[in-house]
């Protein structure tokens, strides 16, 4: 089977090849009266706790640097008090950093005066809040148009744009409702719509789904992924939930005590935790929600060409000592599989492979999460075929390959 090359598919989880839209360099934030002194003490080797005791100043962020690529979802993750929300608010300067550089699209945010800052907040930065932060005295439509109203867009135009966005987030027709009449999930859709209406390049999401109950939360995550696919915004997403980070993040920055401990794709964070802290953090993650079909599949070797006869198939199975074999076309399109018993029978009775082909085998996409696969494979007596949207066979998943993958990823500790 040398002629078949398994094509590396581009993982949707990999960072897209593009230029950074946000650059943060050496960002530090000290809360307190004498930040200089606090930093001086910290540089001379005192811990943050000691600095706090001595100067009453809190070093919330210390020397943070990272870049966010255009179109990616960059997750800031950490426990409460790790500085992730402070970092998010430094990007649009809701909190003024003590020192450091922030660039958005090449523009220096730190050097901006009030007016310039207002302009970039209006045009480029949308924000979504943990507790929705809807204005209680305004109806949904007027909440969604808030950003445009601030920008001075005419009422007719902003209502038109807002209704379009409300439609998009699934709240068409709710324009005249009041926030108090909506459920949490709906309120956050309004929050999302409000941020999207002014069509910013960047969305800053601060624990946006943390206040929602788990079911609604998963729906919202799915919807965000879907929206992201359509709109291609750059998102900075703050969360304390690793599962959420792994699900949404193109890349994840793990924060601890005001510093970034590790930046990487979900896969990298899970498989190569950079230090004990990260390792501990990822230890109890539900691997079935992180690993995808393509992570647990094995190469579909050997396979039988559908033009080949039963004898060839029988030979391959005997040689590799396997009870069944997948049958594909010349273009690697999956046809089905044949079992050893059927093939022996076919050789005796002179049937072709097509006569004994089993086509009712379970099929999954390369991006299907393991949690979906598990339920399918339990009910099936055959291994599962991993097939892309063009019908090509990419790999095979058996119970054994899943166990092997789980052992590989999670069994190190």
């Amino acid at each position: 089977m040398e002629g078949f090359v398994i094509v590396e598919i581009v993982c949707s989880g990999d960072p897209p090849e593009s230029e950074p839209i946000i650059r943060v360099h050496g960002l530090t934030k000290v809360f307190g009266h004498d930040p200089e002194k606090a930093l001086e003490l910290h540089r001379s080797g005192r811990s943050k706790k000691e600095v706090h005791e001595e100067t009453n100043a809190t070093i919330a962020l210390h020397n943070v640097s990272f870049e966010v690529m255009r179109g990616e979802t960059f997750v800031l993750m950490g426990l409460s008090g790790s500085g992730k929300s402070t970092l998010l608010r430094c990007i649009n300067r809701l909190i003024d950093p003590t020192e450091g550089e922030i660039e958005i699209d090449g523009e220096d945010i730190m050097g901006m005066d009030h007016e310039e800052l207002r302009q970039i907040r209006r045009r480029k930065l949308g924000m979504i809040f943990q507790n929705f932060a809807l204005l209680p005295q305004r109806n949904i439509l007027d909440n969604v148009t808030f950003g445009l109203e601030i920008m001075g867009v005419s009422k007719a135009e902003r209502n038109q744009r807002a209704e379009k966005v409300l439609e998009m987030v699934g709240l068409g027709g709710y324009g005249s409702s009041m926030p108090s009449e909506l459920s949490g999930g709906m309120k956050q859709r309004v929050g999302l719509a409000r941020a999207l209406t002014s069509d910013p390049d960047i969305l800053l999401m601060d624990e946006a789904f943390s206040a929602l109950d788990p079911l609604i939360r998963r729906d919202m995550q799915d919807e965000l992924l879907e929206l992201q696919e359509r709109l291609g915004k750059t998102i900075i997403f703050v969360t304390h939930d690793l599962d959420e980070a792994l699900k949404l993040g193109t890349r994840i920055a793990l924060m601890k005590d005001g510093s970034i401990v590790q930046i990487g794709t979900p896969e990298e964070i899970l498989t190569n935790p950079e230090n004990a802290y990260v390792e501990k953090f990822v230890a109890d993650v539900d691997l079935t929600r992180v690993l995808l079909a393509k992570d647990v599949m094995r190469r579909p070797e050997p396979v039988a060409q559908c033009t080949a006869g039963p004898r060839v198939a029988l030979h391959l199975m005997e040689e590799h000592d396997i009870p069944m074999i997948f049958v594909i076309t010349r273009h690697r399109n999956m046809r089905g599989l044949v079992t050893l018993d059927d093939t022996i029978d076919a050789v005796k009775t002179g049937k072709t492979l097509s006569d004994i082909l089993k086509t009712d085998i379970p099929i999954v996409a390369p991006d299907a999460p393991l949690s979906d696969i598990l339920s399918l494979i339990v009910d099936s007596q055959y291994p599962m075929a991993v097939v892309d949207e063009n019908g090509r066979l990419h790999g095979v998943i058996s119970r054994a390959s899943i166990l092997a993958a789980l052992a590989r990823k999670g069994g190190d500790s």
Binding site: R122, M127, L135, P136
Partner: protein
């Protein structure tokens, strides 16, 4: 026994009052004349309308403000008819005029100052002792400088009332704005609002229920103060109460007191219903 030398606070106050009277009499006169015109004009206007018509108009107003509360509307009109029947209509109208004018002036001062105090800790810190002073000082004490500066009559009554009624409106304005949730302030900032947009589109609308509670308090205090201000000739229902006390005429005092209560309830219900209710989470 040692005698403590008396610190001449009373003397000092007299000196200050004298000084103001000498150098600012033109201003005091202008205020006095202006208010007199206002009070007389407003009173004439209300009395020019026949009582039944005004009662009907008030009924319609309450009907709309309370969002069609038929019970409240009927009670309001019955109360006003009772006042009319007791022969206290003209006195009541003067009281209403005094309350409304004093309240408008008090609000015109206290709401902007309250906003300033909400936005600046310094202003707030400076104001606090003055507000404490204004609220704890017995209301009668305000009457003295008011009389000195403006003589007897409705004008000093209004001035004393304004001072007495200001603090709660000011405090609740400050409180209401300061209590606007941080996240809503962040919304305004994150979407690039100017300080003015933030104030008018977020802070004031969200603080409105609290500010309205302050306005309500302001009106109630103004009503009670106009009664006390009758001691310096402010007229109205308070004067009737005062006469009742002086003549030990219980019936007369009670009737006037009842009329004041009726007015208070009507004012209260109208202002309490002015804010649209948008419910809690």
């Amino acid at each position: 026994m040692m005698e403590l030398p008396k610190i001449p606070i009373g003397d000092a106050v007299e000196v200050i009052v004298d000084w103001i009277e000498t150098y600012f009499s033109w201003l005091l006169d202008a205020i006095s004349d202006g208010l007199n015109v206002l009070v007389n004009g407003f009173e004439d206007l209300l009395l020019a309308v026949p009582a039944p018509v005004l009662i009907a108009i008030t009924g319609v107003l309450v009907w709309f403000v309370t969002r069609h509360d038929i019970k409240m509307t009927i009670l309001t009109m019955l109360g006003l008819i009772l006042i009319w029947d007791l022969g206290l209509w003209e006195l009541s109208m003067l009281t209403v005029v005094l309350v409304i004018i004093a309240t408008i002036i008090a609000l015109a001062l206290s709401i902007p100052i309250g906003i300033a105090a909400a936005r600046s800790d310094t202003v707030n810190t400076i104001l606090r002792p003055f507000l404490d002073f204004m609220q704890t000082m017995p209301s009668f004490v305000y009457l003295i400088p008011a009389v000195i500066f403006f003589g007897l009559g409705s004008v000093p009554g209004i001035i004393a009332t304004v001072i007495f009624a200001m603090p709660p409106a000011l405090r609740l304005t400050t409180l209401g704005i300061r209590q606007v949730p941080v996240e809503l302030i962040e919304v305004a900032d994150a979407f690039g609002a100017t300080p003015r947009q933030k104030l008018f589109k977020v802070q004031l609308p969200v603080a409105l229920p609290t500010i309205m509670a302050g306005i309500n308090q302001c009106i109630m205090l103004a009503l009670s103060m106009t009664v006390i201000a009758s001691m310096i000739g402010a007229g109205g229902l308070g004067y009737q109460v005062l006469v009742g006390i002086q003549r030990v005429d219980i019936g007369m005092g009670f009737e006037a007191g009842l009329a004041i209560v009726i007015l208070a309830i009507i004012f209260d219900r109208i202002t309490q219903n002015l804010v649209p209710k948008y419910g809690k989470k």
